[in-house]
Every structure is written in C-alpha cells, then in structure tokens.
Symmetry: C2
Subunit: 254 residues, 2 copies
DNA sequence: ATTAAAATGATAGAATCTAACACACAAAGT
DNA sequence: ACTTTGTGTGTTAGATTCTATCATTTTAAT
C-alpha cells in the first residue's frame, strides 16, 4: 500500500465515508482513475466498501455490536494461527460441562467455533459472552470493571462471583511465559482472577502461541505445573528443560 | 415496510448482497425505479448500504461468522426513531457522573453516541459494555446469567454487585407500559434488577417509544411516579389521564 | 364521492463506472 | 548496455447506473 492509499484509508477510518469528488480535491495531482483504483484496492483488502460515488469504511458497519478498538487490531493478527490453536483446544470440550473461557483473542477464536452442546460457559470477557450468547445454551458473565485493552471484567466483584461457580474445564490465555516466572499478564486484577480460576478448575487448558515464550510480564498467575494441557504452535523456542513436560504440550500444525 | 421490501430485506440477509438486475428478475412486475426506491428505503432504515448497481446487507461485515440473532433483528427496527429518542436522552448526561445504562436496543443507540467525559458507566448488557469500552473512561459490567434475547446479565450476582454502586442517572428501557401496570418486562430476574436500579438511582430516565404503550408484560418494575423523565416519540396514544405527567414526558420530533 | 396522500411509472440527462490501450519508469535478467 | 517484465498511471470511449422531475395510479381518509 502506497502513501496515497494509506492516507485514503485513514480518511476513511476518520470520516467513515469518502466521496470521489473529495478525493479529487485532496489529490489533484493524480487522475480520477487512479483514485478509483485505490478504492478498489482498499475494497479488495477489506478496508472499504465501494459505493456509488465513493466508498465507506468497513469499520462503519461494525458499529452495531462489533469490536473495533485496540483489541480488535491485535485480534486480527495471526488469525489463522490462533484458529488452529483454538480448533485443537475445542476438541477437549465435552458435552454438558461447565467451561470457563478466559479473555484473549485466541480464546475468542475458540468461542466462535464451539458448539458446546449443553455446556454452561462462564467468561470474564464481554466480547466472548456476546458471541457465545448466539449459540450457547447457557452463558455466565463475570462482572466488574471492564479493561478496554483485554475486554475483560475483573476485580472484587468477579472474585466474589466465582466463589459460587464450579468449573470443569478452564480455557486460559496469557501474555507471556518463561520457565522461571510461569504464565504472566500485565494487570493485577486480571492476574488475581486468573489465579483463582486456575485453582478452581478441575482441568486447565492453556492457549498460547510461541511468540509469547520467554517474555515476562508483571504478574504471574500460574506455573507450568499448574496447568494440564498447553496448546501452542511451535516448540523450537523451548529450552531442553521443557522436554519433561512434553506430554502436556500439544503442538498444532501451522 | 411492504411485502416487496420485506422480501428484498430477507434476500439481503440471506445473500449479504443483491444486484438491481437480480431484483428486476425477481420482481418483473414493478419498475426499476421502484426497486431503487426500495433499496433507498432499506438504506435509510439501516438495513442496507447501496452500492453501485445494488446494495449489501449491513450484516455482511459485522458478523463474520453466524447469522444475526434475535436481538439484532429487533435492534434494527425503527433505528432512526430509536436514535432520535437516544439523542434527546443523551442531553441529560452530565460530566463525571455515574450513569447506569439498561439493556435494550434504544439504550444501545445511546451508548453509540455518548461521549460522557469522565463518566463511569455501569451496565448489565454485554453489547453495551463492549461498545462503551471503546470510548468511555470507565465501564462496569454487572455479572450474571446472560439472556440471549436481551443480552442482559441479571440474577443474584448482579443484585449483589449493585449494592456497592452509586448511580446518579439511570437510563432505563421497558418492554411495555400501561397506566395500571406501569413499566413491565417478561423476565423475572431482569425485572428484579431494574426495580433495584430504579430505587437506587437519584434520577431515572426512561426511553420507550410509543409502540409499547398499552402493552403489559408479566413483571412490573416501576410505575410512572418512580421515574423522573420519559423520552418518547408520540403522545397521541396516551389517555387524558397522563396529562398530569406531561412535564416529565419529553417528546422528540420524528 | 371527493380529496388527500402515498406509491409507482416513465423519461431525460447527469454522474459514475468499466474496459481497453498507451505510456513512463524501475527492477531484474541477459 | 539492452531487453524484459511488471507496476503504476493517464486517457478515452462507451456502457451502466443514478437522480430529478413530472405524470399516473393506487390507497386511504373524510
């Protein structure tokens, strides 16, 4: 994408809508045909939808319920990899169980593809709850302060709620992992909640791609011993120390 | 909306996209101009976006997987009217206050357009919380069982949470109203929660269009005396009895 | 029955879109 | 150095679509 196309994309994001006549004034040095081609390019790449006389931003349409924030930008990175990991994890979900789904874009991928017949889903993430409400039999939303980066609810209210909830399987995510510090995140309250979930759940499945290995964040909520299964995409980064845990680490083909 | 327009709307929902030439084949008895007008109508009501040569469904983009749920079908009805009501209600929101936003599509319209500088928003609806998390300074999500029709959380967990929350202004919705039964909804837990909210809030603003007047549902959560302002679109349906309440009823132009 | 309002049809002209070809320029290969 | 290839761009002509307007029909209300 060249500078002109990037500018048009930004105009679209800001204004939600742009007319060819406006573009002609902004870019008088290029021909109308070129601007048309730019709009076609943006349409083919999913940034815009061409209308008669211009184009609108795809973000404009997303407003009804969609996610369109910092979170969403990260969520679309490596979406194929995340889907592969989520698909593997979905195979561990059994009918009629109580399933906790953590906040995080990989877990959100899983929420999109689970059927979970008769399952009760519990989640702290508002986007996950919204998605699950379409298909799932029963959905519990943990309450609390919403973190706009993770879309997760945490804090004393969430802690209080989980006291009364039994969890068969917890599908968790983390922002970093190292053998010394374990699984880490950057938010104190979310760390506290995750720690409590890991303790309560009968079975803990971690979804985390290899890019987060050997990165430590501020708060540790679990060590490798605390989880039962870890679904990831690559083992190459792992030091030989991990080899003893190989049986709990599931590697998905990429 | 007439039969033909309804059919086109369904075609759009199914196919995500429709060309005028296709419509001409489906409706050979009417002129092309009429079909163009139908598409314009659907566009003005938020169901479609016209393109060169046809139109696309607004659902096409925002729900990459899965079709629209029951909630969204209702949410798109009368969206202009709901926006008008929501805009009026937004003018009552003051900086830095604690604002409760109820579940409901009209209130969701308000969530889309509030700035609410420095406000803390509390809501039971997961879609509203998700939307607010983009823009608002602070968002609290009430926890509990998610109702897939209203996308609202309610139950003992939500009741427990609001005990510790102070509310300056509560923006409420209801499914029905009559002078005898007051404001009503069909779900026991949601009624219980709404009732508690109305009691706690210093100021209660009701958003409800006139189509719900003189319809009673199972559970009453407030009477006309309990609310401070009611924003609606029409007074014609009201019996003369209501006239004494005229000062608290705000009518928006349609 | 009369009137008003809404929906529809027909037409012309304006605006937009597409396709096709030509040109300029840079990168890569011979 | 020369050619080749590909990409980006400009120009034009013609096809398609859109809008505005007014005439006509249908529907609803009094």
């Amino acid at each position: 994408m060249n500078d002109r196309q990037t500018t048009i994309k930004k105009m679209l994001e800001a204004a939600k809508e742009v007319h060819l006549q406006q573009l002609r004034q902004v870019f008088p040095q290029v021909s109308e045909m070129t601007l048309r081609r730019d709009l076609s390019y943006l349409e083919n790449n999913g940034y815009a939808i061409r209308t008669h006389g211009g184009a609108i931003s795809t973000n404009k349409i997303n407003i009804p319920d969609g996610e369109e924030n910092e979170y969403e930008k990260r969520a679309n990175d490596n979406i194929l990899l995340k889907t592969a990991i989520a698909t593997k994890a979905a195979s561990y979900i059994e009918k009629g169980r109580s399933i906790y789904l953590d906040a995080g874009s990989t877990v959100m991928c899983l929420a999109r593809l689970v059927e979970g017949e008769g399952c009760t889903f519990i989640t702290s993430a508002v986007n996950t709850a919204l998605k699950l409400s379409n298909t799932a039999h029963s959905v519990m939303q943990l309450g609390g302060q919403v973190n706009k980066n993770t879309l997760s609810c945490s804090g004393p209210d969430a802690m209080e709620m989980i006291k009364h909830i039994n969890i068969d399987i917890a599908i968790m995510s983390a922002s970093g992992f190292s053998i010394d510090r374990g699984f880490t995140v950057s938010n104190r309250y979310e760390s506290q909640l995750k720690q409590a979930i890991v303790e309560k759940a009968k079975k803990v499945i971690m979804l985390m791609d290899s890019s987060k290995i050997d990165k430590d964040l501020t708060f540790t909520f679990a060590m490798l011993d605390d989880i039962d299964i870890w679904v990831t995409d690559e083992l190459d980064k792992l030091s030989p120390l991990y080899k003893s845990y190989i049986s709990k680490i599931q590697v998905v083909p990429t």
